[in-house]
């Protein structure tokens, strides 16, 4: 079970991506829990995630989240802006799996 957390300002635009990523994961038979939250919820939600991906418009939060991520011991990264614009679930899912270490 992979637990993939996405965060942006209010969890709205990342949730668009979440639904696309879920479709891809299902089609490929990957068991994954994928969900999006508002940035203020991200630090607490990280505790039950395997990886955190940040919306590119919130990339200035990476430093702040990185300290929490280090404590929890999960990788984090900023989502590629082009993949974000295309709502490319496949690319972002691949990135997440790569970060988890698949």
């Amino acid at each position: 079970m992979k637990r993939i957390l996405l965060a942006c300002s209010s969890g709205m635009s990342t949730s668009l991506l979440v639904s696309k990523m879920k479709e891809v994961a299902k089609a490929r038979g990957i068991e994954a829990e994928i969900w999006a939250v508002a940035q203020d919820k991200a630090p607490t939600e990280m505790e039950r995630a395997d990886v955190l991906l940040i919306g590119p418009q919130m990339r200035f939060l990476k430093k702040k989240f990185a300290t929490v991520a280090e404590k929890v011991g999960i990788p984090i990264d900023v989502i590629d802006p082009i993949a974000y614009g295309r709502v490319d679930g496949e690319a972002v899912l691949n990135k997440a799996l790569e970060l988890i270490g698949e």
Partner: protein, 426 residues
């Protein structure tokens, strides 16, 4: 050009970083988030209490009874939103420091109430609700910051009463907060007493006169608004979330202005402010998202020829109705696209000016102080924000057409480029 863009981005990123990671601004923004559900609840009942034509359908007495019955809903939430923002700030700031957050919340409220007048027109034993709303907003924010800081300071001093082991955790926690809270609130009481000897009489009066009034006057001006709007657009141009950065500074002002309008709206008097929270959220952001990109989606359907833009229109359209537009911003792309920079900056400024003067001249009612969720679709949001006026909705449509006209030539050039590239590839 690329070098220049890189230079600008390297300059903006640290600003965004500073503003967004500043613990006070973060606590302030999150504090407003805490109050938001209550604000929306109150707003819904202001809308219901002021449904159009009801005043003509019902008799005067029946209409008054109807409004009186619904009144407490907004009076207990929207009208005294400052109170909830203060709890939120005290809580979030204390939580940030890893302290017992709920005590941070209550100590902030108590400190705020200590600083405020506790009488109204010689009636004692009352707390004027006006100071819990717009009027007290700034004092409330500062008080919450200082109270939470003092509380943390005293907790860290560790002058707490230690309970023997075996006492339940929650019991000992309630005692451990005793000394820090007592010391913190005593300081605020002393401040209150000192101010009672000045010509301001209360701290509330002092902050309101010295800070809040000048700041809101400045914030309600057209140039300051254009500047705030432009800053948001520039941040977004570099793919940084503009509102979350700019609003953390402007929200207290915009909400305070909003609340002044609400008081006037409910009292049935002339609304004082054009620039309010809803001016920004409904007439600028509420048209498909930042930069009013619903107009861009419509234009794509109208004139788009290339596969790339047409696909994007389909992808970004449905979310755009609810003012979520990241697919358009990152997909068109708007970010770092020199050609798009012109309509991106020009359209919001034109719309700001058009909206401002439509309201200032009375052509369209000013925002009534109702907080409409930012995901409300265009038309509905304009109607609700202006206190159930169809003219608010019409203004949004006019603005949408203006944005489409400004974008037209630029989108056409861009789409043509994409189209020719696609043809060349085939």
């Amino acid at each position: 050009m690329n070098k220049f863009m890189n230079f600008l981005e390297n300059m903006l990123l640290p600003i965004a970083d500073k503003l967004n990671n500043n613990r006070y601004l973060t606590a302030l923004r999150d504090g407003f988030m805490v109050a938001l559900p209550l604000i929306i609840f109150g707003s819904i009942f202001v809308v219901i209490a002021n449904f159009p034509f009801l005043d003509r359908l019902l008799s005067e007495d029946a209409y008054a009874a109807y409004q009186n019955a619904l009144g407490p809903a907004s009076a207990a939430t929207l009208s005294i939103m400052g109170l909830y923002v203060i709890v939120g700030i005290g809580y979030k700031l204390t939580q940030h420091y890893g302290g017992e957050a709920i005590y941070g919340g209550v100590v902030a409220v108590a400190a705020f109430l200590i600083l405020n007048p506790q009488e109204l027109d010689d009636v004692t034993g009352v707390i004027p609700t006006a100071i819990l709303g717009a009027q007290g907003m700034f004092l409330g924010i500062f008080t919450a910051f200082i109270a939470a800081e003092l509380y943390r300071f005293f907790v860290n001093k560790n002058w707490t009463i230690k309970m023997p082991s075996g006492v339940p955790d929650s019991v000992s926690r309630s005692f451990s907060a005793l000394i820090p809270i007592t010391l913190t609130l005593s300081i605020f009481l002393v401040i209150r007493i000192i101010f009672s000897f000045t010509s301001f009489e209360t701290v509330q009066n002092f902050i309101y006169t010295i800070i809040q009034q000048p700041l809101t006057a400045l914030g309600s001006s057209l140039p300051a608004t254009i500047l705030a709007v432009l800053l948001g657009q520039i941040f977004w141009f570099f793919g940084l979330h503009g509102q979350i950065i700019v609003n953390s500074v402007f929200d207290p002002i915009w909400y305070a202005l909003n609340d002044e309008n609400l008081q006037a709206f409910q009292a049935g008097t002339e609304l004082p402010n054009v620039i309010t929270k809803q001016f920004i959220d409904t007439f600028l952001v509420g048209m498909g998202g930042t930069g009013m990109t619903l107009a861009v989606v419509l234009l794509i359907f109208l004139i788009g020829k290339s596969r790339q833009t047409k696909e994007l229109g389909k992808l970004g359209g449905p979310a755009g109705i609810f003012n979520v537009n990241e697919p358009i911003i990152f997909g068109l792309p708007i970010i770092m696209n020199p050609l798009i920079l012109i309509p991106w900056l020009l359209a919001p400024v034109v719309v700001t000016i058009v909206t401002y003067f439509s309201m200032a001249t009375g052509l369209v009612p000013k925002p009534a102080g109702i907080i409409v969720p930012w995901t409300t679709p265009i038309g509905i949001s304009g109607f609700l924000a202006t206190g159930n006026s169809w003219r608010g909705a019409v203004l949004q449509i006019v603005n949408l057409l203006i944005v489409m006209a400004i974008w037209w030539p630029f989108l056409k050039i861009m789409d043509k480029n994409y189209y020719e590239n696609e043809k060349a590839k085939k």
